[in-house]
Structures are given as C-alpha cells and as structure tokens.
Amino acid sequence: MQEKIIVCDNEKCTGCRICEYVCAAVHEEKLNPRLSRIRTVRIDPVFDLAMSCRKCDNPKCLDACARNAISQDPETKLISIDKEKCDGCGYCVDQCRFGVLSIGIDDKVAIVCDTCREKNDGKPACVDYCPKEALEYVAISGIDDEKVKKFHHKVQENIDKK
C-alpha cells in the first residue's frame, strides 16, 4: 500500500497558521498553536512552509526513544506515542530531521501528526481548513506526478508562445 503524507506548496503557503490552530483545536480542543502537530515556518522575507510528519522509513525519532514509547504502524507508517511511557525528554524532537515532533506544552509528552485518523471524519483537518489549498494529503508517488505535470505545462506554454 502506498502511504499518504501531508505536503505543502511553499508558493501557496502564506504563513497564516490556520493549520496550527485547527490542528490543536481538533486534537486537544484547545486554541493554542503550540499544541499543533503541524508547524509553520517563515524564512524572511517571503518563504513560508508548513510541515508535519513525513512518515520516514527507519524513523530517527523511533530509534532515539530510550523508553520505547514510539512505534510505527507498518502499513500506514504512522508514528504513535505511548503517552504512558513518554517522559517528555525531547530526544525524538532533537533527532527528527524535519522538526515535526514537539513536546506538548500541557502534559509534556511528545506529539506528532496522526493525519486525523480518528478526528475530523478521518480527513486531515489542516488540509481541510487551509484557505489557500497549499496543503494536500497525497500519496508520495502523487507528488512526483504533480511535478511532472507542472513541467509539462511549462513546456506546453513555451510551445504556445512560439
């Protein structure tokens, strides 16, 4: 099975943080972007991106956990945190190459994207609410498809111009 991930088009992303608010509201029923499973970042002046778990093969976060609190579903590749075992040491946060894990500000255990598996009718809320359609929930192979399509559009445009 081809797993899906949440991807962000940095040209469409405006840095509005709505994804963070909605994520926290859906998962924690709280309004606090620091409880979000997706992170936005702006690099001045205009580079914006939102990112959540990439569902890596051989994830570093899993290896980093000394308490075996982190596991990965072999089929969906989703990372889960065992809240009982996690002591909030933050080593997984440190080891994640994408900076998409964090330690929740409230109960001090690691939090990570679950693609809203059991919330928001199973659709990732961030994708659902993104006002600029910058976020998409797609199969990894689909990302390549899009790029190929964009390339072909470009070629077509050039031909049309001539």
Binding site: E11, T14, G15, C16, R17, I18, Y21, V22, A25, V26, E29, K30, L31, N32, R34, L35, R42, D44, P45, V46, D48, I105, D128, Y129, P131, K132
Partner: protein, 615 residues
C-alpha cells in the same frame, strides 16, 4: 472575568519606577468598551488629564487586543496602541496585525499599559507570567528589522514576537511608527514617538497558554465557510490587492498627485498595481489567522535598489509615488523599506515630503534651505535621501520635517499651512477632499485627525453613491454611522479587509456570542461603538478641541480642481458648515461648539465625562 475570549488581566508597567503590576480587567469593560481601541480610549480617558504633553512621562501608552485575538475568527490577530498623539494632541491610535496580538493574548494578557519614562533605552520582555524591563542601550539606532532579529537571537527563541521602534521613534519624529513582523505597523498618529519619549525601544512577547472561548466546537464549524469566503470574488485584497486603485483613481481623476495639486498622474501606468504585481511582487503573505492574505511583498531583483524588500499597499504606493510625483516602483519600494526600517509612517512621510516639494517648486525653500536637495516633484533620489534623513533626524531641514507637516508649515510661514495636507496635524490619506467630499467630511470629524479608516465614508464617493462634488446636512449620518461601525471593528479587533465576508452583520454578533458567551445583537455592539467613539471625542474636548479644528486645509476651499473630469471642483464653505451641522446634529452634539451635549453623554452612561468637560 465572566466573558470568554478575554484573559481578564492586563499589565500596568511604570518605566520610571521599574514597577510591574498585574491587574484585573474591570468586569464592566468588556460589556461597555469591547476591547482594542475601546480599552485604549478608556485607558487614556482615565489616565491622561488635561495639559499633559504627549511627549512627557505623564502620557500613557497602552497596547490592547480584543476578544477575538488568538481565536479561530478570521483576521483577528490584531493589536492596537493608544496614547495622546504627539502629532495632533488628540487621542491617537493605530492598529497592526502580524503575529503580535495573538501572542500577547496567549501570554495571558488583554493588554499592557505603559507609564513613565525609563532612565535609559529599555525593552520589555513578557514571557508568559515573567515580565522583565531590560536594558536596550545596545539597540540604540538599530532599525526595527534589526531590533526584531537581535532580540529573537538574544532571547534564544525565534517564535518570540517583537513590536519595536527604529531611530525615528528614538529621535522623536512625530510620526514615528511601531513595527512588528517587519512589515506590519502601528503607523498613524506617532505612537512610535511616544515609545521613544519613554526610552522604550521594544515590547517582546512569548505566550504559551491557550485562549479560551465559549463554544469552540461550533466556532470550528462556523469559520470553515468564512475562510472560504475570504477568498471570494469580492476579496481582491488577496489577489491583485489595493494597489490596483492607482489606475482606477487615475481614470476617475481622484489620484492626488504633486501634493494634491492635480488629480491625475502622467506616470500612473509606471506605478500601477498591475505593473507592480507583474514585475515586483515576489509573494503575497498573510498575518496570523488570516485567510485573505494581502501583504504584497516586493523584492527588487536588479538595478540600483537590488535586494530591496518592501510590503506595499495602495496608501504607501500613493504617498511615496504619485503624491511626490515619483513614477518608479523600485524607488517607491526603497522609500517604503526606509520608512519601515527607520520607523516612520509612510502616509505622513509622503505627505510631509510632498509639502516640502511644493514649497521648493514655489521657491519658498532654496537648495540651501533643503540642505542641498533638489526637491522637485518626481525626483526619486532626493525623496529617498530626505526620507533617510528624516528617519535619522540628520540636518536642520529634515529635523523640521520630522515635526510633521503642520508644525513645519507653521515654522516656515508664508501661508504654506494652506497646502500642508493635514487635519489636526495628521497628514491625510489618499482620498482628495475636493473631489471626494463625503470622504473629506469623514477625515475632518475623525477623532485622530485626517484618516480614512475611522469611518470609511470615502466609499460613498468611490462608488458614486452620492454627489461627491457637493455636501449637505445628510452626509453627517453616513459619516457617523461609519464611525460607530468601524469603532466596533477596531475594538473587536478584526481586519477591515474582512468586512465583505460579513454582508450580514449579525454574523459578527454571532461570532461574538460563540467567543464570549454573551448573546447580543449587532446593534448592541454598535451602541458600544458609539459610546467608545464619543468618549474619544470627549478626550479631545478635554484637550482643547472644538468645532474649529474640524476644517480642511485652505487649499480645499480656495483652489478649484479643473481637468477633463473635474470642473471647478472645490469644497464650498457654506456647504461645509451645513455638513458639519448635520453631523453634529445627528450625533446630538452641540452644533456651535462641536462638543457632545450633557444629555447625549448621559444617554450613553458617560456622566463623568459630561462633568469633566463641563457640559
């Protein structure tokens, strides 16, 4: 605090004694003054007595959010700064967006009140419940952008939000602004100058707490459609943006050019929004919790100004473009970047420079007077050099201009005050008086000076919903209703760009219900808006303002505009007087003095204000 959405707390900081007090928000404030400018005006009313100089330690500057900041309500991460304005002597405020307002709320405060004066340049760091007044002498002369970067580095967290002043604020340019998120500003009324007068360089905030609303589940459902509406057909702000007004206004012959001497601009095509979008805008970005995204960021890729970055809207583009006769987008971007980094208001800067240019062309200033600048309209290099000198207060000429167009004209004499395009000392925005007369009335009655964002009355002219070349006593209602409406918006605080997504205003009241838990109608909010605006007016009355100051610069009454569209366009004094009468009558204020009547104040439950202003 009974109502949700608020934290119910604010900080009261005295910079003289280095004293930080945590105070409870009075229970009745939310139900009387909403938040935002409402809380700010109330704070000024309670704390700034008659005769307090705006630049003295006795002036009080307060920063406020409203109940919507930090919630899911679209376009709500806003904050305001309110104080007595050093530019006008009236109540002064500005509103900014970015990421600051929501962060302050999450730190646990609805606002911060700042009094006194620090003994050396200082900044305040609010880290949730830990509040420190810290030395900022190492930030002396740093630009707003540098200050933000340095503080984030120094405090070791890039997620910290910073509102700061540049050298213009430190050196008391009267129209200095407060900048956050680099491109967002509390621009008008010189609030940055007030910060400078207190040796107060920056306010840095980190907030990690949740914001509590009454009904999160329903709110989450409601906002989904609103976010979509933010991208609807009419929401051009997020696409071509307000700069498209340049060509629209030029076509309509309402594009104020060369300090309002002409209403069309030969170089309009060169500084059009369309051209800017095509050639200069690198990306359109958003503020926190904004689904509109209107921030058109120009990045100049080649030429003399290579590397310049500037976020440009219609007002800035107009003030530093057509108004100064400048038809080069690169130069305008550079000018905006200088204003943003040195920390001056783009509108006041442009209008003041344009006044100086007219003086120069009329021979009132020589090259010697201008410290060597050839200040002809259209001389972009001279404009840019002058803006830099104003921001740094270099040389006698730039120093004088840093006082604002009114004081500079008074000092210069020779009737130059007649074409200093300001009311009450605040340089006017882009809607020219003679050809947009309902707009003119709104600019004149505005409690902060000549500004379009306090009533939006220019829209009647823009849409030709009224005869924009004449006035009568019916226009006062349009202006006053707009003022009350905008006061609600500025108190909640939400962005004015979101107004089109609430064609039914009851929707806003419904959002208020979901956030605060109080079930009310929009009319209830409007009543509060009227009370806030009237209290702001009383503040001005306390500080010596009457009907006499609600007049336009003489140019508007005495120099008719003639071109292919405008025929002998001028504001007629008798019509103006009637229009003012109509406004005061509708407001139930005294026609002769322009001062609210005792019974009017009593009706609004403002008895103490009546007593204080002696009616």
């Amino acid at each position: 605090m009974e109502l949700k959405g608020y934290t119910g707390k604010y900080l009261d900081i005295d910079l003289t004694n280095k004293e930080v007090k945590l105070k409870e928000l009075p229970e009745d404030w939310a139900k009387n003054y909403i938040g935002g400018i409402g809380f700010g005006i109330k704070t000024c009313w309670d704390n700034i007595p008659k005769d307090v100089d705006a630049l003295s330690p006795e002036n009080v500057i307060s920063f406020w959010t409203g109940p919507f900041a930090g919630t899911l309500v679209p376009v709500s991460s806003k904050y305001t700064a309110v104080a007595k304005s050093p530019l006008t002597g009236t109540i002064g405020f500005g509103i900014s967006s970015g990421y600051f307002g929501a962060e302050l709320k999450r730190a646990g405060y609805d606002g911060v009140v700042i009094r006194g004066k620090a003994d050396k340049l200082s900044y305040i760091f609010i880290d949730d419940d830990v509040v420190q007044i810290k030395d900022a002498t190492h930030l002396t002369g740093k630009t707003t952008w540098e200050t933000e970067d340095i503080l984030k580095q120094e405090l070791e967290d890039k997620s910290i939000r910073v509102a700061s002043i540049g050298s213009a604020g430190e050196k008391l340019v009267r129209y200095a602004c407060i900048t956050n998120a680099k491109n967002r500003h509390i621009g008008r009324n010189g609030l940055g100058c007030v910060m400078g007068s207190k040796n107060f360089k920056a306010l840095a905030v980190r907030g990690t707490n949740e914001v509590v609303v009454d009904d999160l589940k329903t709110l989450l459902k409601e906002v989904k459609q609103l976010y979509k509406d933010c991208r609807g057909e009419k929401m051009y702000y997020g696409r071509e943006g307000t700069p498209i007004k340049i060509l629209k206004h030029d076509k309509k012959a309402v594009l104020a050019t060369n300090n309002f001497q002409k209403m069309t601009f030969d170089g309009a095509e060169n500084v059009s929004g369309e051209k800017m979008m095509e050639e200069k805008v690198r990306k359109i970005i958003a503020c926190e919790m904004c689904a509109v995204a209107c921030d058109h960021v120009n990045v100049i890729k080649k030429g003399k100004y290579k590397g310049t970055v500037g976020s440009i809207d219609f007002e800035s583009l107009w003030a530093l473009g057509p108004l100064c006769g400048v038809d080069c987008l690169d130069a305008v971007t550079k000018a905006v970047q200088l204003c943003d980094t040195l920390g001056t208001d783009t509108i006041s800067t442009g209008v003041t420079v344009a006044w100086a240019m007219e003086c120069y062309e009329k021979g009132i200033f020589t090259k010697q007077d201008t410290d060597g600048l050839e200040l002809n309209f259209g001389n972009a290099d001279a404009m840019i050099e002058l803006i830099e000198r104003i921001g740094n207060r270099e040389g006698e000429f730039a120093k004088m201009l840093g006082e604002g167009s009114k004081l500079a004209a008074q000092k210069t004499g020779k009737d130059t005050i007649n074409f200093a395009m300001q009311i009450k000392g605040l340089e006017t925005s882009a809607y020219p008086f003679r050809v947009m007369q309902t707009g003119a009335l709104g600019h004149a009655t505005c409690i902060t000076g000549a500004f379009y964002q306090r009533s939006g009355s220019y829209q009647y002219d823009e849409k030709d919903a009224v005869d924009r070349y004449s006035l009568d006593d019916s226009r006062g209602k349009l202006v006053a209703d707009g003022e009350d409406d905008y006061t609600v918006v500025d108190s909640l605080i939400i962005c004015k760009f979101s107004r089109r997504i609430y064609p039914d205003k009851e929707k806003l009241a419904y959002l208020w219900n979901l956030v605060t838990g109080e079930k009310i109608k929009y009319q209830d909010l409007l009543d509060r808006g009227k009370k806030i605006y009237t209290l702001g007016k009383c503040f001005n009355v306390r500080h010596g303002f009457t009907r006499q100051q609600d007049y336009l610069p003489k140019r508007a009454y005495e120099e008719p505009i003639n071109d292919h569209i405008n025929k002998e366009a001028v504001v007629k004094m008798d019509e103006w007087d009637k229009a003012l009468d109509g406004y005061y009558e509708y407001r139930k204020w005294d026609k002769k003095t322009g001062i609210p009547k005792k019974e009017t104040l009593k009706e609004l439950d403002l008895d103490d204000a009546a007593e204080e202003i002696g009616v």
